[in-house]
């Protein structure tokens, strides 16, 4: 009996024959995520298994330990950096069957959910009880809670409410030993000792598999409105955001796009973009209508004082439609159709504020060197959490994967950009997941702290079964 057959036999006893597969066609689908990584190597798992409960997850982890087979946990597969890919093949643990909303508790502003539920399902469940779940990335119809908590990702409401990891007050995690632990509960301040939640949030499943989460929900704001402002460059736009912060406004959406990103996002709506525009920010506010109106008025004034100018309403609305993707609105977005020719991937770094412009100029310079001038998606900066000052800068470059050399070039480009970010006193940012190839920069940046991290990993996952070969761990 082959090793895979043996594994199959053991797993079939856990989940039943309907919920696992060793068929190539089923496995191939898990060989690529949203990023380019899947084109650069063979990440096809040996077996795909779909557990229905935490007990099943525990048993699967125990089997993996016994047989020394790695487990790669999958949510929606919308990772931007290759982090669910089965580097050493083995088991893909698809969590999407565990998608029950266990409880919505509006009195305590808490919602308990299994990790495989999609963000859209959670939002809809919250709305039924007249509360608001705030994490809404562009992929919310397909990405799962477990995926968001493990790999971060941005939310259009992030400037007011924060990122995915700010929404968590409790977790159930299955460690690499098969042991299940509970951290936190429905109380909002829940740190009896060290903050163990943060150990698992953003860990991409390398320290444990998140199976359940208690999430924050908020009272629903009655109205929502927005404006967009044009700026001559990144530096002026950043100054304006600082002014907005000091003004006392509390916007919920702050998205800064350069001209090229804006063109790409407006492509479907065919909205014309003013000639002179180089950088633009979308500010959105929510609350009582008079409060929203006043806030937008103040934001507009602050921006104009720092050299900005208001953009036409049709730009604002078409921009909002492009980024606000949920069940009701997704057909208005440009999300899918902007990618008919190229594969999207991104550089994700955080720098000292004053050096955004320099980093962006450097990016343009390297792009020219690589010959990527006409196919540019440009850069965008997103605010959050909890404040209008943007701090993560992304550069998205569309790559034609039909040209084999292009994929390699992309990784060279990525290396140049990250090396530069570190030189400039910046950091590799976890805002969209650290992923498969960021390991060298993460190790370099952490220095001696890396040993501490591997020490923690050896405690929670002694046989190294969780996401083996991912995120810099061997």
């Amino acid at each position: 009996m082959s090793a895979t057959d043996h594994l199959f036999e053991k797993l079939v006893n856990v989940v039943g024959s309907n919920y696992l597969s060793i068929e190539l066609c089923d496995r191939l689908v898990y060989s690529k995520d949203y990023s380019i990584e899947g084109f650069a190597g063979d990440y096809t798992p040996d077996i795909v298994v779909k557990p229905a409960s935490v007990e099943e997850v525990q048993q699967i982890v125990e089997i993996a330990n016994e047989l020394g087979v790695p487990i790669y946990t999958w949510g929606g597969g919308t990772s931007m950096s290759g982090n669910p890919l089965a580097v050493h093949h083995g088991i893909v643990l698809d969590m999407k069957r565990m998608n029950r909303i266990l409880e919505v508790d509006p009195d305590n502003l808490a919602l308990t959910v299994e990790a495989g539920a999609t963000m859209a399902e959670v939002q809809a469940a919250a709305m039924k009880h007249n509360v608001f779940f705030t994490h809404q990335p562009e992929s919310c119809l397909s990405s799962t809670i477990g995926g968001a908590l493990s790999c971060m990702g941005i939310s259009i409401f992030g400037a007011k409410y924060g990122y995915a990891y700010d929404q968590v007050i409790g977790l159930e995690v299955v460690l690499g030993t098969g042991q299940a632990i509970q951290v936190g509960n429905k109380s909002y301040l829940n740190v009896p000792a060290h903050n163990l939640l943060n150990l698992f949030l953003g860990a991409e499943g390398t320290l444990g598999i998140i199976t359940k989460a208690v999430l924050k929900v908020y009272p629903v704001p009655p109205t929502r409105d927005r404006i967009s402002i044009g700026f001559p460059d990144i530096a002026t736009a950043m100054e304006a955001c600082k002014r907005v912060h000091s003004s006392g406004c509390w916007p919920e959406t702050v998205y800064a796009f350069d001209r090229r990103s804006l063109v790409q996002y407006m492509e479907r709506a065919k909205t014309p973009i003013p000639e002179e525009l180089s950088m633009a920010i979308l500010f959105g506010c929510s609350g009582e209508s008079d409060m929203v109106e006043k806030s937008l008025e103040v934001i507009s004034r602050c921006c104009q004082e720092t050299g900005g100018y208001e953009l036409p309403t049709e730009v604002t609305e078409s921009w909002w439609d492009a980024v606000n993707i949920n069940r009701e609105t997704f057909d208005k977005s440009n999300f899918a159709l902007s990618h008919t020719d190229y594969e999207p991937d991104l550089i994700d770094a955080c720098l000292p504020f004053s050096r955004f412009q320099e980093f962006s100029d450097y990016c343009d310079e390297v792009k020219r060197e690589f010959g990527w001038v006409d196919i540019d998606f440009g850069s965008f900066i997103v605010a959050g959490p909890r404040g209008p000052i943007p701090f993560c800068i992304y550069f998205s470059v569309p790559i034609d994967t039909r040209i084999p050399r292009e994929v390699e070039k992309w990784f060279e480009f990525k290396e140049r950009m990250y090396t530069r970010a570190l030189e400039m006193g910046g950091s590799v940012s976890n805002a969209n997941g650290v992923g498969l190839r960021s390991a060298p920069w993460v190790r370099e940046q952490l220095g001696s702290a890396w040993d501490l991290l591997t020490g923690i990993k050896s405690l929670t996952d002694p046989n190294n079964v969780l996401n083996r070969g991912q995120r810099g761990f061997d």
């Binding site: 919920y19 066609c25 191939l28 597969g77 119809l141 397909s142 990405s143 899918a336």
Partner: protein, 49 residues
């Protein structure tokens, strides 16, 4: 037939690049066994592999 299908070519190409999985929402085939290979995304990933 080919003509009728051709108007969906952009969507198919987008799926090949993006693999977003938004198609799982309300998909009767996917909801049977909840394996990605039953969704449109799954089929296109296989097709373009």
């Amino acid at each position: 037939m080919t003509e009728r299908l051709s108007k969906y070519e952009d969507w198919a190409r987008a799926c090949m690049h993006l693999r977003c999985g938004l198609c799982r929402e309300n998909c009767p085939a996917y909801s049977q066994l909840k394996l990605d290979s039953y969704s449109a995304k799954g089929k296109l990933t296989m097709l373009y592999h």
